[in-house]
Chain length 594, copies 2
């Protein structure tokens, strides 16, 4: 039976000490909390995750969702009651806009609450995550009437939101979308088509579900330029906000999946469903991207969240399970064997996971604080700079936290030996659940292409330049601090590799875009290593600044950082070698050779 304890102290340390919340203090519409109140919020969120959500995780996986003949979908036992408590506790609304009933806390706090709840129960929590993303899209692109009608309900979690993009013939290539929107005399539209892989497309948790649907208005051009975004609620919403009759949309079936069994992945059939245009006609993709980008950060959080809960269980097991003896001398001579945590190879596995988790969480918090600024700062330059960094980090976070999240879940499962393969232990569920994070909201290959093809060259490389400048300034300012030397050296090396790779793309990728595409995946991972390495250097600096002096902090956190620097950062060299190998060998074989 797996366990979970929300890493409240770790989050508080990041928010109070590493990236003091003052960074976003005073932003319009953002509630400021004292460290004590913040700690209380995090503690309560953690307790909710631990006591309400976590106990439903294994049973939810086992029971799964059931679709009834009328197209309704029943979530696993206990999920409705838990969702009720989730809404009652105000948890969906933590970072919600205060003007629409949200609590108006920093997105960083919202991300951490999401992390806690996802570690406890990913299938449950992603319902709410997508709702928050749908809400943002309506806030960004909706009319005043749409905002008034939908946003308060979505912020509160009384209604849920979904994103409807994929169709059988198109996932990545949205230009191929066929779902049709037929204009009506009253300015509304009727939607016809089939969407697949719709997460939480139908369920019994909330009183209504608001679908955001990409479709092509009759007569619109082919390709992505012909796409528009529509709001199509499950139950028609009357202008006064009351719920009307059912809309002509139905869950046709739910998928049997590797994991995430408690979250229904639906085929959605639109058979003349009423829909309202959201934003401008023909600019549906842009509106959907607001939702998608936020969802990508949410998926990155999922990767971290599963890595964290898998780690916690592996660490606990390694302290309890006794096999063999420490190499130099028995540690528990009174017992028949030592706990396996004495073995260096078990420590290698555990430390690689935790070193990643701590650094990745810092990166997530840092990025979320920038998102606060991008959304709320009155200073246009500050907004632009934050938006740049957010755009750059979104694919990095999504790709790296999920790929590594999956790898970490496997590594944690491995610590259990044969027991990890048994369903009861719960470790294999983490692997199965985590696996989807590398796929949805754009596969990680797509994230890499987004990074290298769009985010990197945008505005003459402004975002990349700002990031490398920040890291270089940090390195320069701290150069004399010998306590930081174990962090600064590897970070500098990693930054050099990243700059070499970027230069290589400029020299070879413009001439032949295959060279950029062939190295994109490695570049994304290298970027992640450097960004997390920078976070570790920031953590170390904050730790020493906190008055701990030369002594390592009591809980040994920085030893995990040193592990990251010594053993994970060297991978940047392999990434660089692969990137500079170019595309020649990749593009040479004809399709038949595969």
């Amino acid at each position: 039976m797996p366990r979970y304890t929300a890493p409240v102290a770790e989050v508080a340390f990041l928010l109070d000490r590493v990236f003091p919340m003052e960074g976003s203090t005073g932003l319009p519409g953002l509630a400021d909390l004292s460290p004590e109140t913040l700690q209380a919020v995090l503690t309560q969120a953690g307790r909710f995750a631990e006591t309400v959500l976590q106990p439903l995780n294994q049973s939810g996986d086992r029971e799964g969702c059931r679709r009834h003949e009328d197209g309704s979908v029943e979530t696993p036992p206990g999920f409705r009651a838990a969702y009720h408590r989730y809404v009652e506790g105000g948890w969906p609304a933590v970072s919600g806009d205060a003007g629409f009933g949200g609590q108006g806390l920093s997105l960083a706090v919202g991300a951490m609450v999401n992390e806690f709840c996802t570690s406890a129960n990913m299938a449950f929590t992603m319902v709410s995550g997508l709702t928050q993303s749908a809400c943002s899209a309506i806030l960004a692109h909706g009319s005043a009437a749409q905002k008034a009608l939908y946003v308060p309900k979505l912020v509160a979690g009384a209604w849920c939101g979904t994103m409807n993009l994929t169709e059988p013939q198109c996932g990545t290539d949205l230009g191929l979308i066929r779902t049709k929107a037929v204009p009506q005399a009253d300015g509304s539209y009727r939607l016809f088509g089939q969407k697949i892989f719709i997460s939480a497309g139908e369920h019994d948790l909330a009183e209504n579900i608001v679908h955001l649907v990409l479709a092509r208005i009759e007569g619109a051009p082919a390709g992505t330029k012909g796409l528009s975004l529509f709001v199509a609620p499950k139950l028609i919403v009357r202008p006064d906000g009351s719920l009307g009759p059912r809309n002509a949309l139905l869950c046709g079936s739910i998928e049997r999946k590797m994991g995430l069994h408690a979250n229904p992945t639906c085929v959605m059939d639109y058979d003349g469903a009423e829909g309202e245009l959201l934003g401008e006609a023909g600019r549906g993709l842009q509106a959907m991207f607001v939702m998608m980008n936020q969802a990508r950060i949410g998926v990155a959080t999922q990767g971290l969240a599963l890595s964290e809960v898998a780690y916690q269980n592996a660490a606990a097991y390694a302290k309890e399970r006794r096999q063999g003896r420490a190499l130099k001398a028995p540690r528990s001579p009174e017992a028949p064997a030592d706990p396996i945590i004495v073995h260096p190879d078990v420590r290698r596995a555990l430390m690689s996971i935790r070193a990643f988790n701590l650094g990745a969480r810092a990166l997530l918090v840092w990025t979320a604080l920038k998102a606060d600024i991008a959304r709320r700062s009155p200073d246009a330059a500050a907004r632009d700079a934050a938006e740049d960094l957010l755009g750059l980090m979104t694919p990095v976070l999504k790709g790296v936290l999920t790929d590594t999240g999956v790898r970490n879940c496997i590594e944690a499962q491995q610590v259990f030996g044969g027991y990890g393969y048994i369903v009861e232990a719960g470790m294999e569920q983490f692997v199965r659940d985590a696996r989807i994070t590398a796929v949805y909201e754009g596969t990680n290959g797509i994230q890499a292409l987004d990074l290298v093809g769009r985010k990197l060259p945008r505005d003459g490389g402004r975002a990349f330049t700002a990031f490398t400048k920040e890291v270089a300034s940090f390195l320069k300012a701290r150069a004399g601090d010998t306590r930081l030397a174990p962090f600064l050296g590897p970070l500098k090396q990693g930054l050099d590799h990243l700059q070499q790779a970027t230069l290589w793309f400029m020299q070879h990728g413009l001439r032949d875009p295959d060279n950029a595409a062939a190295g994109a995946y490695d570049y994304m991972h290298m970027f992640g290593l450097v960004a997390i390495g920078y976070m570790w250097a920031r953590i170390a600096a904050a730790t020493f600044a906190g008055g701990d002096g030369d002594a390592p902090p009591e809980d040994g956190r920085l030893l995990f950082g040193r592990f990251f620097m010594e053993r994970t950062m060297p991978e940047t060299a392999a990434h660089l070698a692969r990137i500079t190998a170019g595309a020649a060998t990749l593009v040479a074989p004809p399709a038949e050779a595969f």
Copy 2:
């Protein structure tokens, strides 16, 4: 619905061209086949795997095994009939000893037949794999009567074999075994205890199941020195070979697992079961290691086999699924999109898998040919040299082919995007099934420690020296061949790194064994890269020697080899960096810091 085509031509190429079978020709007891006959055997084996086993793979996963109240276990529908055909076709006996009814073919041929059958249906095939390993243990340590009684039935597959090591309190640490053997007046023993995680411990495929059981004779010392190995058949075997009554052993339950659903993983309760000592009392572990080492090669084969079938499906999907356009110009302008195999990042994923598979298969064949020599050569020096290499390569093959096998299954699943997460596509089953290979027969962490702690230092490092000498001689002999340059340079670099790491262990691991243990896992993977790199260089040399001249071979095989050299071999540098980082950071944190 996944598909599978046995790579017959690839295997024939390895056996005929790269490692001509003459290497084992003329060994006593080994049947020699002409290339044509060999091709026919492989073709038939492939057809059996494709048409009989593969169609049962998904249904077997879905249906799983069922234990009845009487302790009997029912395999999924179709498995009994398939097993009957498997035995009838003589497939279990391919490499079986001709003196006991086997076909006496090279172990390399047997390994390849196992690969085909495992790609098609791992849960089915591992029943037979363990039987072959049990058979080897009886051949090596049994009395003449035991051999005569058990081996012919096991060789033929009429009876199956199992290995019973694990108990709830001990997996890796077998010294903790509690199962008790009570001597009887007639020289036999009664076994009492519980074994867990017993693969195919009970089923309905064969008329009898021969359990090899590690137990402690009453009064024997604690630890591994007190362990003896026993043969305890499910049905008592009378001295004339006929089957008698049921033995006092029972399957108490079967485990719910992540994958491998069609293979029952049993809790076995021994309640006074009759057992006969196999080999000497107190030397049970040594006898079991014969079985275990062979089983480890079998597990390595499983890693490769799943990587291969996952690759085949991903490659087929990438040629069919159309999304997006090639970067430079559409490849199928007449269609709405290009097949995704035009995208460099999809090729990167596919090539990394196939480049590994081709090289890993060569390493498996090469090692199996050495095993033939070790087992059968009349020349003691040749036997010793082959045994050295076999011992060295066993943990490398097991650890590297399974870790990479799992990673490759995930990478192949990823090529499918969202579809790969759906059960129907079959890709997620490959991941779930493959996952156990990194765990059983000794976790991969244990393989790494076996390599570094035992195999490397044994006989003054004789095996390692022989291996590096062979690679260095190859490099020297081919130094002038410019066609081979893309292979030789990276191989030389990898070999240098391996030698540096080995030297580092000598300098730092003897002084502090934690340093060796902390680097063992990276060393194992580095060793695998160098060994597979050597295989690719051998394949390239054989290809050019085959008269293909300067032109790349028609099927572009060597392009995959170049991919391996350009993009996979550079990882040796990261492994070296990690190894030489030592144990200091790993051993520093107290258990509470985890």
